[in-house]
């Protein structure tokens, strides 16, 4: 269906050079907070990692299953609200239980939504993600008693982060949060890459390339689409749990259509169908946003122009640009 998508080679494991590069990047990121102790930069990279995870989860849908979700941030928001509400109202100290509840609740919400969405074709699927996303945004925005409406969720406790009794800090501490985020995002990346390169991933790509043929060879297209959707939403739920722990706050703007376009742009910037591209795209996007939003209040116009430009002239993103340069060199 799409000649613009880059199809990666299909080894389930890492080749040696890739493995070395990934280890170097992770090691670099891990020592970062001990070298540069400026809290601002630690928070910035933390946000890049969390949005990177969200963009990567959208890539599972967009790049591998060929389904478009306009408001993937809604599922980050649902999980973040669930974790926050659990910590405030149920138990302020049990961090892991709160995160599990958040992710599980997100999956629970995503299941009926996905069930309705996969019953329609690709176009209606995309429109429905927008409609349901707006619905979740409206609920969070207007249900003042539960979510705090426009003011957002306030009064988050700072539970201690401990792994098997070993306490590394509490969630208000930027360095401890950063290390937790790095570990979780790395695990999620490796797991997702493994899943995508398994026979299950091949089925998703078959659906993306030609839905009818996939159905003819006996693949239950609806069920696999639903599984892809659930995988993406669960990953977004993990990102949401990290998000609220890192920020200590969530408001309805995080779930708005505008923020959803941002996530879509991260995937486009990085290059869809690559899994690691969106992580790079998120880093670039968060950096630019941080830079431009301090300069201009008309950030919307620039966002629109950049999206249009990307789709018209650079549909494969920065990752594709690398491949293009390589081909150019070879002649």
């Amino acid at each position: 269906m799409d000649k613009h998508l880059t199809i990666p080679d299909k080894q389930p494991g890492f080749s040696l050079p890739t493995f070395v590069v990934i280890m170097i990047i992770i090691a670099g990121l891990a020592v970062f907070p001990f070298v540069i102790t400026n809290r601002f930069y630690i928070s910035l990279i933390n946000e890049m990692l969390i949005y990177g995870l969200l963009a990567m989860s959208l890539d599972v849908l967009l790049g591998f299953t060929g389904l478009l979700s306009f408001m993937h941030n809604a599922y980050l928001g649902i999980s973040a609200y669930a974790v926050g509400l659990f910590l405030i109202h149920v138990s302020p100290a049990s961090l892991w239980l709160a995160c599990l509840t958040g992710v599980f609740f997100t999956a629970l919400v995503a299941l009926p939504v996905g069930w309705v969405q996969v019953r329609t074709g690709g176009l209606a699927f995309a429109l429905l993600t927008l409609a349901f996303g707006m619905m979740f945004h409206t609920i969070v925005w207007k249900w003042y008693g539960l979510t705090g409406g426009d003011d957002g969720l306030m009064g988050m406790p700072n539970p201690a982060i401990s792994i098997f009794g070993w306490e590394i800090g509490h969630s208000g501490d930027p360095t401890a949060m950063y290390l937790l985020t790095l570990v979780v995002v790395t695990i999620c990346y490796i797991l997702t890459r493994r899943i995508i390169r398994s026979p299950f991933g091949a089925v998703l790509e078959a659906i993306r390339e030609n839905e009818e043929r996939a159905a003819f060879v006996g693949i239950n297209v609806r069920m696999y689409k639903l599984l892809g959707w659930m995988l993406a939403c669960t990953l977004a739920g993990v990102a949401g749990a990290l998000f609220i722990l890192y920020k200590g706050y969530i408001g309805p703007t995080t779930m708005s259509a505008f923020a959803g376009a941002g996530v879509l742009m991260m995937v486009l910037l990085g290059g869809m169908g690559t899994l690691w591209g969106p992580l790079v795209g998120a880093a670039i996007f968060i950096y630019i946003q941080d830079y431009i939003s301090t300069m201009s209040e008309h950030w919307e116009i620039y966002l629109g122009i950049v999206v249009v430009f990307l789709v018209l002239f650079m549909p494969t993103g920065f990752v594709g640009l690398g491949g293009y340069l390589k081909r150019l060199k070879r002649g």
Partner: protein, 292 residues
């Protein structure tokens, strides 16, 4: 509020008014999709541009009825420029790209609206003669809303006559069924796509101008309308004009009732309705939808 009868009359008339606006916007979206296979996510923003254009035309001293004629021309001009420069080159690409493209366009237009007209809400000044109310079955109903109903009916009748009786209309309808055949008969499809987009923009502009005085005009009005018109065309079946008429009236009625009883979360009821209909009738109410 008088008796239960007058409340019922209020609700019925209000749902017709709301459904009428949904119908005009959704039909425009449907025509563009049916003819050029582009789902225009910037349609809500074009509707907002229509409302703001109507506001500006009235603000510089023209009559409101002149604004109803002039604002759509302005929106059509904006649409023509967008279609020629940005949307036409994308037509051959996959659906996902056109969706993302028009999504970007939506933010661009919203940003431009905020840049030109600012963030604060605006109000269209109505002529004195339609500001009064008339008694209907025990309720005092605003004349303006009745005028809106008349205009909606006139627009829809005009559109049906245009699509069924004129040569251009027949070419447009034929192109939505078998574009290859129409192309073989010597019609330049470039102009068909252009015409469909401009027609959709004109309809969005009319809807914006007549809905403007109904609520306040603010930069976010386009988003709400975009979602409502999606709900309408999804319930009615994508590309089905008859389905859109029924769906628009249904959604208008459900939303008016929900707003009357539970105010803030009214839209949630509408989304639930859509989810239910889709779950059991994936091709829309009349089963005519063309989902890809």
């Amino acid at each position: 509020m008088g008796g239960s009868l007058s409340t019922a009359v209020d609700i019925i008339l209000n749902s017709l008014v709301l459904g009428g606006v949904f119908l005009i916007v959704a039909i425009g979206l449907n025509i563009i999709y049916g003819l050029s296979r582009v789902m225009n996510l910037a349609h809500g923003s074009l509707y907002a541009v229509g409302a703001y254009a109507g506001y500006s035309i009235v603000a510089i001293g023209f009559n409101y009825f002149a604004a109803i004629l002039l604002a759509p021309v302005y929106v059509a001009a904006v649409g023509l420029v967008l279609e020629r420069t940005i949307i036409a080159p994308m037509r051959k690409r996959s659906m996902i790209y056109t969706l993302i493209l028009t999504y970007g366009l939506m933010f661009f237009l919203d940003g431009m609206i905020k840049y030109i007209w600012g963030n604060e809400p605006r109000f269209i000044e109505l002529p004195a003669m339609i500001q009064a109310t008339v008694p209907i079955l025990g309720t005092q109903y605003p004349v303006f809303r009745l005028v809106m109903l008349l205009i909606t009916a006139a627009v829809m009748t005009g559109l049906m006559l245009f699509l069924n009786k004129t040569k251009i209309g027949i070419i447009l309808r034929a192109s939505s069924t078998i574009p290859e055949m129409v192309s073989c008969l010597g019609v330049n499809m470039k102009y068909v796509h252009m015409g469909a987009f401009v027609l959709g923009c004109v309809l969005a502009g009319i809807a914006g101008t007549i809905a403007g005085p109904l609520t306040t005009i603010d930069p976010l009005m386009g988003h709400e309308m975009l979602i409502s018109s999606f709900v309408v065309i999804v319930i009615g079946g994508l590309g089905s004009l008859r389905g859109a008429v029924i769906a628009a009236l249904l959604v208008g009625a459900v939303q008016t009732l929900a707003e009357f009883f539970i105010t803030d979360l009214a839209m949630v009821i509408v989304y639930m309705l859509m989810a239910l209909i889709l779950a059991f009738m994936p091709r829309g109410l009349l089963g005519e939808g063309k989902f890809e």
